[in-house]
């Protein structure tokens, strides 16, 4: 099933074209790595594929609802005043999930990502990698059908980055969630079965 389908998508800020005729289709269970240098349009492509940014030209078709899409920003962007557990429950709670059930699910997700001992910690008390894992837990706990992550290992050392990516890929595979990440690191991209290279807003390979 096609979850998100971009056809000849153009995205322009003023005179500048960030995306210039990009075609990309993501189906259930697929795992993509979008690579490219800084400023090549990776983040923008993820935002477009998530349905968060409407393209200036071309067409984006979503085969799922916005509630079935989860996006993990480059900087973890946790709510700084809430504990790791509360941050992880937020998405569920907004959907009206019973508070105690939301806490149980979030706690499970955090434990699975190795944060069982840090559920009460505030973001400022966590390392960059731990913050990123909380953000991932917050996304996966929503059981999305499409998970998009922007430079999920950008703030981590190589070993920690590999661990996080492995966890993400396993979680995605287990729930048949499609995974689309943006990275500038070719070694990270190599861990993914499908690649897409961007250069100046165009697909290079």
């Amino acid at each position: 099933m096609i979850l998100s389908n971009a056809m000849d998508v153009v995205l322009q800020y003023g005179e500048r074209r960030i995306l210039d005729g990009v075609d990309l289709s993501v189906e259930t269970g697929e795992q993509y790595a979008v690579t490219g240098r800084s400023g090549s349009g990776k983040t923008t492509l993820l935002l477009v594929m998530a349905g968060l940014l409407p393209p200036t030209a071309g067409r984006l078709t979503l085969g799922i609802t916005s509630r079935e899409i989860a996006y993990v920003p480059q900087v973890p962007s946790l709510v700084p005043e809430l504990s790791a557990l509360d941050n992880a429950t937020l998405g569920l709670r907004f959907r009206g999930v019973d508070p105690s059930a939301a806490v149980d699910q979030a706690r499970d997700a955090l434990e699975e990502l190795g944060l069982g001992g840090a559920t009460d910690a505030l973001p400022a008390e966590l390392s960059g990698g731990m913050q990123q894992r909380v953000a991932i837990a917050r996304a996966v706990v929503l059981a999305p059908r499409l998970l998009l992550a922007d430079e999920p290992t950008g703030a981590l050392d190589r070993a920690a980055g590999e661990r996080v990516l492995t966890m993400m890929r396993e979680l995605a595979a287990r729930s048949e969630t499609a995974l689309l990440i943006a990275t500038h690191d070719v070694e990270v991209a190599a861990m993914f079965p499908r690649h897409l290279a961007l250069s100046d807003g165009r697909i290079a390979a």
Binding site: Y13, T43, T44, L47, L52, L53, S66, R67, Y71, P73, Q74, V75, P76, S77, L78, V79, P80, E81, L82, S83, D86, T89, L90, G91, R93, F94, R95, G96, D98, P99, S100, V103, L122, P123, A124, L126, G128, Q131, R138, L142, D150, A155
Partner: protein, 874 residues
């Protein structure tokens, strides 16, 4: 040039930011300039008004054998003289008048020679009551003693049958004390009582009445230009006293100067000091608050300036170059705000003092400079600090949660220390008969008990910090998770966020509380003053409306029935007689102690050491009881329960001795003068004198002007009708001069206070809510609806505004109570408790709530927007 280009680009790109900074600085400059101008204006006004209270400025008394022409010539040479008139008087054995009821004789009397235009020259000396205002005039009391009026013939006793004059009119001598003063009496000799009997005649008649039969005192009454006096009453006094001394030396001791102008200016020193204290206690907190609000608004640029600074440094700008660029922005902000502020100050002054008010140049320049300095400090100081320390990384910045630790002063217990010290100072200074301003008689230097000002000065920061502590403590409570939350409103999560942001919320709430407290304390203080001023007017008039006959009128009485007009809610009769207490002639009021309160204003302050209810109850239970003035009890060594014999006129006009028993002390009473008087039971006076004639009717009504107009149509001949509406214009209390200053100050502080309260609430919310922008985008990514996202803002806004409002109302009320006590001397009569202006406070609360709601609503819409730029910032 680079700075100019940077400035131009900044102004083009960020007009709203520039406007907000300009408005904030403008508010500060406007408040400071208008307050300073008000102070300058009211100081000069104070001198002019005080000087105007002197009926004549100088009474130059010639010593025996002095050359009047020479003295007059020397007086003409005194600078700023407006005019001089010769006034002579002589003491005679008495006056006699014969009428259909018989012949009446007075004791010693004064015959005064006045020029025909004296009434116009010194209008405060003569108040026409009956008949002509010129010619031969009888003083009111003398007319009563002689049962004489216009047309009666009065004879000067001991001169001969030719010494007669036909009375043209009856007048009151409102300034008899100063008119008959002993010129040249040593300082501290005490005032002499004015004569009971006075006959005023034209110069031509005077010689025929007393020439060769009595010692004539020759005086020259002089008036000067008051608009050229120094604005400070003490300086004006020094000038007047110096000129009087110079004149005395010019005439080589041939004349003594009774400096009434100097005495009036000396009396105004207290008002001048109270006016300064009012500015200090009511105005300065507002200016400080305006400065803080201004600093906060300008500081909102800090985040952007920090980013720009980083870019500038990245592109090679040196630290000094960066500081110059930011300094140019600060200067532009300051100048724009200064210009706006001056326009605002001129408008505020016009609204406060009328079209004649002018902006003081010195204060205007000073305020603009203060605005520039403030802008420079707020914008440059953090930039310089950042240049030295460097900015945090993005990762650190987004994860950082607001500090929840109380600020150092609170951790050290500064609030409790300040409040405790304030309470101690308050108790020490306010116990007993304390006065913040001490004005010794005859000494041009007044002293101020500045220690008393410490109480409110310490209470302000102490209470503000306490509000911070309580707010933070109240917000630190943990909330349980709800069992169900199908709507996804996440109340526990929102509460947890506010709990974590309690330091920030408490800070905002404290700022709001202080802003509201400035307005509340001014409003309560002003309302209390107004209430007491109304009581003062009602006391002088007697009630809302009063119909009066001159005292001791025999054969004439007021029927309470005539006062029963539509709108009259209660009518009380009162006798007004004159009674001798020893040699002193005092006013005696006969009342029904059980019912007088239905129409007369009564306050516990009238009866020191007891309540007015208990005192009147004691009087009602003592048929021959009398309430006497504290001064009378002291002077005659009397105590409650003692027998006191008074001499009253009976129905035939003869003085008879009537025994009374002292039933209590009274300091103020309806229609009573400010000095000594007596209050007794009307039925006892009627029995003892054989006359139940009523001289005063007190009428309580909610429409004094209309009821007074109705009563004027029904008033018998000789009766006058006064009401509180028209009476207010003529009554001046002991600190009446300060009232004008307070009115202007109150308008300014209340006006700016309202603006600041709203600005503070809006600002506190904007500062707090703007920090949530990133979080709101994150919440949107997690699927939160706009309503769910706005819920976070509303929770925080509610906590801040409710805490600010409650804190502000409480702090304002406490400060007002302290101010009322500290400035007790400005009230006449002293208030029992502060008056709460419920309507005004309700409007303030509503305005703050409305401003906060609009701000939060708009912030929710603006901050909750999820667009490309914000998404890319994540």
């Amino acid at each position: 040039m680079t700075a100019l280009r940077y400035l131009q680009a900044g102004l083009r790109a960020r007009r709203a930011e520039f406007l907000a900074a300009g408005l904030a600085i403008g508010l500060f400059v406007s408040f400071l300039a208008s307050l300073g101008s008000l102070v300058a204006h009211s100081r000069s006004e104070l001198t002019v008004r005080a000087a105007a209270a002197a009926p004549v400025d100088w009474q130059v008394q010639l010593v025996a054998g002095a050359d009047a022409a020479e003295a007059g010539k020397a007086l003409s040479a005194v600078p700023d003289l407006l005019g001089q008139r010769a006034v002579d008087y002589a003491r005679v054995a008495g006056l006699r008048s014969t009428s259909a009821t018989g012949t009446r004789t007075t004791g010693a009397a004064y015959v005064v020679s006045l020029p025909t235009d004296y009434g116009a020259f010194a209008p405060r000396e003569l108040r026409p009551l009956l008949g002509s205002a010129t010619g031969t005039l009888l003083q009111q009391q003398t007319a009563a003693n002689l049962a004489a009026g216009p047309g009666s013939v009065v004879e000067v006793i001991g001169v001969g049958p030719a010494a007669r004059a036909r009375v043209d009119g009856v007048v009151d001598l409102p300034a008899a004390d100063s008119f008959f003063q002993v010129v040249g009496a040593p300082a501290g000799a005490g005032a002499s009582a004015p004569p009971d009997n006075v006959l005023l005649v034209p110069s031509a008649v005077f010689s025929t009445l007393v020439e060769g039969h009595a010692t004539v005192v020759h005086q020259l009454h002089a008036r000067f230009r008051h608009d050229r006096l120094p604005s400070d009453p003490a300086a004006a006094y020094a000038l007047s006293a110096g000129r009087a001394n110079h004149y005395a030396s010019e005439v080589a001791g041939a004349a003594l100067v009774g400096n009434d102008l100097g005495a009036a200016l000396l009396g105004a020193r207290q008002d001048a000091i109270y006016a300064q204290l009012l500015v200090l206690l009511l105005g300065i907190p507002g200016v400080v608050l305006a400065g803080v609000v201004c600093a906060l608004v300008v500081a909102m640029r800090r985040e952007r300036q920090t980013r720009e600074l980083g870019l500038l440094r990245l592109r090679g700008a040196s630290p000094s170059r960066s500081a110059v660029l930011v300094g140019a922005t600060a200067a532009a902000d300051g100048l724009f705000g200064g210009a706006l502020g001056l326009v605002g100050a001129a408008a505020a002054l016009r609204l406060t003092l009328g079209s004649g008010a002018r902006l003081s140049t010195a204060w205007a320049v000073g305020a603009v400079v203060a605005g520039l300095v403030l802008a420079a400090l707020v914008e440059l100081a953090p930039v310089i600090r950042l240049i030295r320390r460097g900015a945090p990384t993005v990762q650190q910045a987004v994860a950082a949660a607001p500090a929840i630790r109380l600020p150092l002063p609170l951790r050290l217990g500064a609030d409790l220390f300040l409040i405790g010290t304030s309470a101690l100072v308050f108790w020490l200074t306010s116990r007993g008969g304390y006065s913040v301003v001490v004005v010794p008689e005859g000494i041009p230097v007044a002293s101020v008990n500045y220690a008393a000002l410490l109480a409110p000065a310490l209470a302000w920061p102490g209470l503000a910090l306490l509000a911070w502590r309580i707010t933070a403590a109240a917000l630190s409570r943990k909330h349980r998770r709800p069992r169900t939350d199908s709507s996804g409103s996440v109340p526990d999560i929102r509460a947890a966020v506010v709990r974590r942001r309690r330091g920030l919320v408490a800070r905002g709430a404290t700022g709001l509380a202080v802003a509201i407290a400035v307005t509340v304390s001014t409003a309560i203080f002003t309302t209390t003053y107004d209430r007491q001023a109304r009581v003062d007017v009602a006391l002088t008039v007697g009630s809302d409306v009063a119909m009066t006959l001159p005292p001791d009128t025999r054969g004439a009485t007021l029927d309470p029935g005539i006062a029963k007009v539509p709108g009259a809610q209660a009518v009380e009769s009162m006798q007004h007689r004159l009674a001798y207490v020893g040699p002193d002639l005092q006013d005696l009021y006969g009342i029904d102690a059980r019912t007088i309160g239905r129409a007369a204003p009564l306050q516990n302050a009238f009866t020191p050491g007891s309540t007015i209810k208990a005192t009147l109850s004691r009087l009602a239970g003592t048929p021959d009881g009398a309430l006497l003035a504290q001064e009378t009890l002291h002077d005659y060594q009397l105590h409650v329960g003692d027998l006191v014999r008074l001499r009253l006129q009976n129905a035939n006009g003869q003085y008879v001795t009537v025994p009374f028993h002292v039933a209590g002390v009274v300091t103020e009473f309806a229609t009573a003068p400010r000095d000594s008087f007596v209050v007794a039971n009307a039925t006892y006076i009627a029995t003892a004198t054989g006359s139940s004639a009523v001289q005063t009717l007190l009428v309580r009504t909610s429409d004094p002007a209309r009821v007074a107009a109705l009563l004027r149509n029904r008033a018998p001949v000789g009766a006058t009708v006064a009401d509180t509406k028209s009476g207010g214009a003529t009554v001046t209390s002991a600190t009446g001069l300060a009232a004008g200053n307070l009115a202007g100050l109150a308008k300014l502080t209340l006006g700016f206070g309202f603006l600041l309260a709203v600005a503070s609430s809006v600002l506190a919310l904007i500062v707090g809510l703007s920090q949530r922008r990133r979080s709101l985008v994150v919440l949107a990514l997690l699927g939160a609806t706009p309503r769910q996202r706005a819920g976070f803002l509303w929770t925080e806004a509610r906590a801040m505004v409710v805490a600010g409002l409650v804190g502000g109302l409480v702090v304002g009320a406490v400060i007002a109570a302290e101010l009322v006590k500290v400035l007790n001397g400005i009230f006449d009569p002293a208030p029992e408790h502060p008056a709460i202006p419920g309507g005004l406070l309700a409007i303030l609360v509503l305005v703050v709530l409305a401003g906060s709601a609009v701000t939060t609503g708009i912030s929710g819409r603006v901050l909750g927007r999820v667009d490309a730029a914000r998404l890319r910032e994540l």
